[in-house]
Symmetry: C2
Subunit: 351 residues, 2 copies
């Protein structure tokens, strides 16, 4: 499986990943090698990792899993541990986990002694196809996601689809939603492949998604223009995710589940505003609903979600700009949406 | 007074600084402008700053002054304030203060929403001639200095020697020690000027020091080789600074006071190991003792300081490497020092 070349590093998959890891560690005379895990990856992924890793790990650091631990206090504990364990500027941190762990581990490495090397080994489908590219690291600030962080690249990212066997189906599907997004914004043939042939955990599909995201990021590393298309489905999706998280009466949605709803809604907006065909719109809805249960939203829910959207406004000069589709595979950015279309979009989703 | 061009930004002095600041802010459409001060700069420097600043400040953030507040909890308060005040990625943070404030403000800006613009206005001589170049940002971790941080450049650094009038003489002299270091490691004529002509707060002297540090950093931005010469006097100086800080029986030394001692000691080591002439060594000692009171060290003090030095070893593969002088103006790096020379160096300092 061919590696994907990003700006300063490569994403290696399967057998190449193992070789690249061991070669890199053999060539760089690291003073210490630290492995970061959470309670899940410690149990399910660490043994597989140690089997293929040919050097010695100096210490294993463990953090509790879950977004609620993705904050600066967990970082402080990690910095203190690294310091106590004599970590220096020539140390390496290997992050073995999902997006929360690789985001946080990347931030801790990027800021410990003004930056040490790190390698990410994403263990969920979502982190393989999404967090593996772009260099975003960071933690939450209260309930605000990813407010503290830096853009900094790992030495390499290693993808072992084997790890996906340790996940439940709901977790895996959450990553699938991002893969479908990659097809929708950039590659109609890939969308067709994914929706017609269900085997999305195939390494070739994972590699294709990584390659699409990489192409977009390489063209716009600082998120000034094109890269915004990666937010398709996320504007409403994030508001829905936050609303369900904070509302005890709603089932909490995984990130992928929320943006799946977001993509159907924003697909409808695309049909209304950018000429996405009705056929394509229905294809999108069908594609997602084949894998993701429909979520019920009553009028009150919709009002609250739109309020959250307006609150978000404050963080971008007072405007909500949407990414919409002209066709499957072709996205456009910076589109303003008249408010009256939102209830219609929800109605289309529910019908 | 000519500006000093660093990698991605310039250090402007006096009248050019005012023009550059106002022009930059006029050209960049910042969504919010925040000013960071401590209780001293709020009182003594903010009025002068507001007099020359032609735009509106959206909010003034205040932190307590002093190294003991240079930690992640202060950063957390600043991130929360920026967030509450609707700071977004197009915001600007202006850091008005000494090295502690500009280091910490630079770190907060570099990590808020993965990095916003910041401008540093150093208000102490030490921060003008030292922290203004190199892009080091960060905070302490417990008693370990600058363990958490990133390398990131400000939009510009503005130097107003006028601010020095708000400092007491001891504070100003602390910066003078770094200026003398610049002469010792790179420029004999500048050393002679500084020691023969006492007017070291002259803008031309400040500019010369900034230019010397800048030249060194530009040649070695990632601290692999040449940049190490900036550590002359700091290996023993840091250990002395830490020892005096933690020992209730010793007078706490300012950074410059500690490295002044360090430079005499390491001058002696240079004489023993790298052929620095006795004449030059005595000139160095005389140069520092003309401005810095001699500190008394008994045998117990010296033992404890050397223990601290050994503790530092753990952070660099087990070796202490010194920067020494072959002559005034010519430094060499990575020199190992036999332990028996340390007591002799202290004896020379005390005699």
């Amino acid at each position: 499986m061919e590696s994907v070349k990003s700006q300063s590093y490569e994403v290696h998959i399967n057998e190449l990943a193992k070789a690249a890891l061991n070669q890199h560690v053999a060539q760089n005379k690291y003073s210490k090698i630290f492995l970061l895990v959470d309670e899940n990856t410690k149990l399910h992924c660490k043994p597989l990792f140690l089997d293929m890793f040919e050097s010695a790990i100096d210490a294993v650091l463990e953090i509790p899993s879950g977004e609620e631990h993705k904050h600066i206090h967990t970082c402080l504990q990690l910095w203190e541990q690294l310091s106590r364990l004599d970590g220096d500027r020539k140390s390496l941190l290997i992050n073995l986990g999902g997006g929360v762990l690789t985001d946080m581990g990347g931030f801790v490495a990027s800021t410990f002694k003004r930056g040490i090397d790190f390698i990410n080994i994403p263990t969920t489908l979502l982190s393989m196809v999404d967090a593996s590219i772009g260099g975003k690291t960071g933690v939450d600030l209260g309930s605000l996601k990813n407010q503290i962080g830096v853009i900094n690249q790992p030495q390499m990212v290693l993808v072992f689809p084997e790890f996906l066997k340790t996940l439940d189906e709901r977790q895996t599907k959450s990553g699938y939603a991002e893969m479908l997004k990659h097809g929708l914004i950039q590659d109609k043939a890939y969308w067709n492949d994914l929706t017609e042939n269900q085997n999305f955990t195939d390494p070739a599909c994972i590699q294709k998604s990584i390659a699409i995201k990489n192409e977009v990021v390489l063209q716009d590393p600082t998120e000034q223009g094109l890269r915004k298309i990666l937010n398709f489905g996320h504007t409403l999706g994030h508001a829905i995710e936050s609303y369900c998280l904070d509302n005890p009466n709603k089932r909490t949605l995984l990130h992928g589940e929320a943006i799946a709803v977001g993509m159907i809604l924003e697909g409808y907006l695309s049909h209304e505003l950018r000429g996405l065909s009705r056929l394509a719109l229905d294809d999108i809805k069908k594609g997602f609903l084949a894998h993701f249960d429909r979520v019920d939203f009553n009028e009150e829910d919709i009002d609250a979600i739109l309020q959250l959207l307006k609150y978000d406004k404050k963080n971008s000069h007072g405007n909500v700009n949407f990414v919409l589709l002209q066709a499957i595979g072709t996205a456009v950015t910076d589109i303003k949406v008249p408010e009256e279309l939102f209830p219609k979009a929800f109605a289309y989703y529910e019908e």
